[in-house]
């Protein structure tokens, strides 16, 4: 066999070799979050909710954006995590925040693994319906098992001890919650970023782009999908768990269709399969929802509806997709790169 010559100078090889390196603008979300913390101390409740949505959307991005698993039931994992924290704390079994999150991740991962193992044999509409029904079944189970879950009313006023035994969770001025969520989000993001740029992540994009071909290059596609789905579920579980801790509260809203649809909208709005779509989408959606619904509540729904229609019709790559296209217009030297396409049908 011939010796592979080293071609360090080819621009394509260099681009791929440097693809994972940090860029200056990647620090912007974190700077913005910290700036928000100091600039808007009265909006931290909203900010915390926003950060949790970003984390949840990132977990979905891994499954949907990278591996092309189109699911309508992702809130099942968010809820699994939230209820893990809630049930353990409410019944006085366990309430330390950090280990609580680990348990939330574990339980959500178990739900993801088991459901993934069974459901990922199917694709398309069937998979969509199966994930949806599984989530709704869990929601109904949580509703019926009120002895443990508090049913429709949920588990109120959870007793969550201070973070590291020091920092109290104040419900009115949620400074601790905000920074705690920000920290967890940062760690989870680093993890997802690492996955996304790894050969494993590259393989996931392969599954998304052409499952049949992935089989033909010898990838154990289903195993990969189940692994990805499980990891994604675990992160969604962390998002749910931290939501329960930050709010000291769990209820059915954590695993309903509303939440599943919202996170999907957020991700697609921002642009999926791009790591930062979750940030852009969550900020755009939540800020718009927050302020528009203050001005004129029904207008918010109308505005959101029209926005979704326009995005679906004209801006398939979401807001980041639009940004990329604009950037290319400005820098025509670089060979045109299509906005990352959707999972092929």
């Amino acid at each position: 066999m011939s010796v592979t010559p080293h071609m360090p100078d080819h621009p394509a090889a260099l681009a791929l070799a440097r693809r994972h390196s940090l860029r200056w603008w990647e620090s912007l979300p974190w700077i913005a979050a910290l700036a928000f913390f100091f600039a808007y101390p009265n909006h931290l409740g909203f900010g915390t909710e926003l950060l949790i949505m970003v984390l949840f959307a990132i977990s979905l991005d891994l499954a949907l954006g990278y591996a092309g698993i189109i699911t309508l039931g992702h809130a099942a994992f968010f809820g699994a995590g939230a209820y893990t924290v809630g049930i353990l704390a409410h019944h006085g079994i366990w309430n330390e925040p950090l280990t609580g999150l680990a348990l939330a991740a574990l339980v959500a991962a178990a739900v993801g693994f088991l459901s993934g193992l069974v459901l990922l044999r199917t694709t398309g509409l069937t998979f969509l319906m199966l994930t949806l029904c599984t989530m709704l079944m869990l929601e109904e189970a949580a509703n019926l098992g009120h002895h443990w879950t508090g049913g429709f009313d949920g588990l109120p006023s959870l007793n969550i001890p201070p973070l590291f035994g020091v920092f109290e969770f104040n419900p009115l001025i949620p400074k601790t919650q905000f920074l705690y969520v920000l920290g967890v989000l940062f760690l989870c993001f680093l993890f997802v970023r690492m996955l996304a740029y790894s050969p494993f992540g590259q393989g996931l994009t392969g599954i998304r782009e052409n499952t049949l071909r992935m089989h033909a290059v010898g990838a154990p596609v289903r195993t990969r999908l189940v692994v990805c789905y499980t990891i994604s579920a675990a992160i969604a579980g962390i998002a749910g768990g931290i939501w329960a801790q930050a709010n000291a509260y769990v209820n059915l809203g954590t695993l309903g269709l509303d939440r599943a649809a919202t996170v999907l909208i957020i991700l697609v709005l921002g642009g999926f399969g791009r790591l930062y779509g979750a940030f852009v989408g969550a900020v755009a959606y939540m800020v718009l929802a927050h302020f528009l619904s203050k001005i004129y509540p029904t207008a918010w729904q109308l505005g959101l509806g029209l926005l979704l229609v326009v995005i679906a019709l004209f801006a398939r790559g979401g807001m980041l997709g639009i940004g990329e296209v604009l950037m290319q217009r400005l820098r025509p030297k670089i060979p045109p790169k299509e906005p990352a396409s959707r999972p092929s049908p």
Partner: protein, 253 residues
């Protein structure tokens, strides 16, 4: 260089009442340049799917170097050295050409399960993929996404992905189909340049390509082997001419 690589014994495949493959016994030797021809709907692609594990035979056995792989999963067969291309492009359309080949090479060298190291740090994988693109004269397109590539170039990527697996058995399903004639020589050159020791089975309608390439030809008609022999034997076989070649030549003319 001699020895049987891939072998099927009395393989049949039924889809309900339809018999897509009937009693096919076939061998592919090491270093072979074998062609599989036959009219439309003869079951050629079905036969490839049976060998690669996309489909499982209703009856019969498939052997690789003597090992029974009849019920083995597709992925495991690929690991054992069987690779294929598709009649209709099956590429990672949203990714760059280099990434397409990277995926294939990464699978082969076992890098693909790595979740920790950035893909870019596996320079060995990148370099091998780049090298492959060089040999197929695709290096200039390495950074372009598939969707923006002319069809002929896409066919080359199709081949590059399969070669990234360093197969011992390579099954090419109409490699030049849909390629403008001005560009088809690139495909032909690439096929000519394949490593000598691998066994290649090519399916095609293009008789020029088949006769230029093949040392041996199998004719498939209605799911069964109709004739097999050297190009000369097949070319002079009256029956084959009757059912197939005549028809094809008039088409070609």
């Amino acid at each position: 260089m001699n020895g049987t690589l891939l072998e099927t014994r009395s393989v049949s495949k039924n889809f309900g009442a339809l018999q897509a493959a009937r009693d096919i016994t076939f061998t592919l030797e090491k270093g072979a340049r074998h062609a599989l021809i036959g009219p439309n709907g003869a079951g050629k692609t079905t036969f490839i799917n049976l060998m690669t594990g996309v489909l499982l035979p209703t009856t019969g056995t498939v052997l690789l170097r003597g090992e029974d792989i009849t019920t083995m999963e597709q992925a495991a067969r690929v690991k054992r050295g069987i690779a294929r291309t598709f009649q209709i492009n099956r590429l990672f359309r949203g990714l760059t050409v280099l990434e397409n080949v990277y995926i294939s090479v990464a699978e082969r060298v076992g890098a693909a399960t790595n979740m920790v190291t950035p893909a870019g740090k596996r320079r060995d994988v990148i370099d091998e993929a780049m090298h492959l693109l060089e040999t197929l004269k695709l290096a200039d397109d390495a950074q372009r996404t598939i969707a923006g590539l002319p069809y002929g170039r896409q066919r080359l990527v199709e081949l590059a992905i399969a070669l990234g697996l360093k197969p011992e058995v390579l099954l090419l399903d109409e490699p030049a189909a849909g390629v403008p004639s001005a560009e088809s020589h690139i495909i032909l050159d690439a096929i000519d340049a394949l490593p000598k020791d691998i066994g290649v089975l090519i399916i095609d309608h293009d008789m020029d390509l088949v006769f230029r390439f093949a040392k041996r030809i199998t004719v498939l008609v209605r799911g069964a082997i109709f004739a097999e022999g050297t190009p000369r034997e097949i070319g002079s076989n009256a029956d084959v001419r009757a059912v197939y070649l005549g028809q094809a030549t008039t088409h070609g003319a």
